[in-house]
Symmetry: C2
Subunit: 321 residues, 2 copies
């Protein structure tokens, strides 16, 4: 199945919104639809498009998988309440951590989250709601990378020959599949999303579990969540495309109070990019890098070392896992 | 046993050399002594002091443990030949790799190298040579860190209550134990060592096995040896105290020719320091960092990512393992 790309330079946001709203209405008809809002720009834009098209026919859920950033669940629900869009917060932490237990391979992690999300948690919601359609924020870059086998995005099925109707019992509508990240931001701005959302750096589908090398336990997620707060406090204002903290599984030698401490290492990545296909490390000053390292080693328990990514994409990817 | 520090500012190199030469002569008497030269500044200075004191009574060995930098064994032997000091090159690679097989814990690695070095290889040499004394380049910082339990230096026994006479069959003489790295450089200069040696950045006792997180196999040592060549080519002229490449065990996602490549990561550390007790990352330009990353990912097979250390010592140590 070929997807016709709409280049950002050619994108007429108002026309795009009108087309997608009409398309969603026609596809869903008189039935119910649901969607999951993660708080990222893609799912936020889809939520507004869906709400515009369907009003009360759309139920929007925030699935708290325990892998979100600090304070994220409540912040997202509150922000959309201000926009007049009701969002239901569903605590599914136990289900996700049970599915992730013992898994260290990145692809298996994504697989476990995908299965838990779509089949267990969402499958149940769809059955309970009677919805026959699911709206989601797949963008063209997700499709490219999944087809190329670089990464398994959690939201790409048809391109892999998987029929969600057959596999999970519902149809997926992907209003953003012809555009890329910068196009999504443009549409978000036109939809009146507050800049805190449409300018928000991308966050991976598997959330903080993609920021932990090795097993994503509750404890390790809590550590990388703390590190993520620090990175975002120090770097979000830098104008970088995306910034992140990654908890390594490797241990390195450090010292505390004159004694040996075989501890943890946090890798910081901060990317300059237009559309996520290519990216280069942001040229942060050493004042900023030193402050990041000092905060990581003093505020995140057990961390004795911090590094900054200096590789480009390619050959690196933006996320480590 | 208390050691009286000679501060570098108070160090009279000529007096220090005369005192140590006299002390070595008196301790060794008419017998034979041996020492191992690694090519680092500490063991180079000890070799010259010992040669000055003992002449033909001293046999100097270069033990090729397979963990050395590219071209190091021959370069060291040649350099000392130019200084009139004969050095015997002993290939013990098989013994060291056999001892390291299956070991991932850093302390156990050091232990395996220590045992192989002192007990197996050196013990055999001492028995064959009839030497009763071993000269070695322990400095005060090694003693401090070993006593504090931060790191097990490979050359500190008495301070840990181990009697080398009893354990290994010989006595150890440590002419540099009252001074630190900057003092050693000062003495080396006074001894007429070429600047390529006395200004040489420190290299750890366990050599490249300390630059590999996880098992130090022949293959992984070969990778980090390549990375070390790159780091030294790009950074030795920067005037940094020490620079290194570390091969991580963690794997990270990358892409090659549009396809997913779950690959290796190299961490680069470059330190500014006076005496190795405290250290800060050198403020390299992003031009240099980018070139380092490009060379690592294009010249070292399997590497898709590179990072630069931004933590200080403490709480980090200079070496990772």
């Amino acid at each position: 199945m070929g997807i016709e790309e709409i280049k950002t330079a050619d994108l007429n946001s108002d026309q795009f919104i009108a087309d997608q709203v009409a398309n969603i209405r026609e596809t869903v008809g008189a039935g119910m639809a649901i969607n999951a809002l993660s708080g990222g720009v893609d799912s936020s834009v889809v939520t507004l498009l869906g709400h515009k098209a369907l009003g009360d026919q759309l139920k929007t859920y925030f699935i708290d998988n325990g892998l979100m950033r600090e304070g994220e669940p409540q912040a997202v629900v509150d922000m959309f309440a201000d926009l007049g869009v009701p969002v239901i917060n569903l605590d599914a932490q136990d289900e996700f951590f049970a599915a992730l237990a013992g898994i260290t391979d990145p692809e298996e992690k994504r697989e476990a989250i995908t299965r838990t999300f779509y089949k267990d948690v969402f499958g149940r919601l769809v059955r309970e709601s009677g919805a026959k359609h699911l709206l989601q924020g797949t963008i063209l870059t997700d499709v490219d990378e999944t087809v190329a086998g670089i990464k398994r995005q959690h939201n790409v099925f048809e391109q892999l020959g998987i029929d969600p109707q057959e596999a999970f019992g519902y149809k997926i509508i992907e209003p953003l599949v012809q555009i890329r990240k910068d196009g999504v931001r443009k549409v978000g701005e036109a939809l009146g999303l507050p800049s805190a959302i449409y300018a928000r750096p991308p966050f991976p589908g598997p959330a903080l579990s993609a920021r932990v090398i090795g097993e994503a336990t509750r404890e390790r997620i809590a550590l990388v969540r703390k590190a993520t707060v620090i990175v975002e406090e120090e770097l979000l204002s830098s104008g970088a495309f995306q910034c992140m903290a990654i908890l390594h599984e490797d241990r390195v030698t450090g010292m505390r109070d004159g004694e040996r401490d075989f501890g943890l290492q946090i890798e910081i990545r901060c990317w300059d990019s237009v559309d996520a296909r290519q990216a280069t490390p942001t040229e942060l000053s050493f004042d900023v890098l030193r402050k990041l390292a000092d905060r990581m080693t003093s505020e995140v328990p057990g961390v004795v070392s911090a590094t900054y990514n200096i590789a480009t994409k390619p050959p690196s990817t933006m996320e480590a896992v």
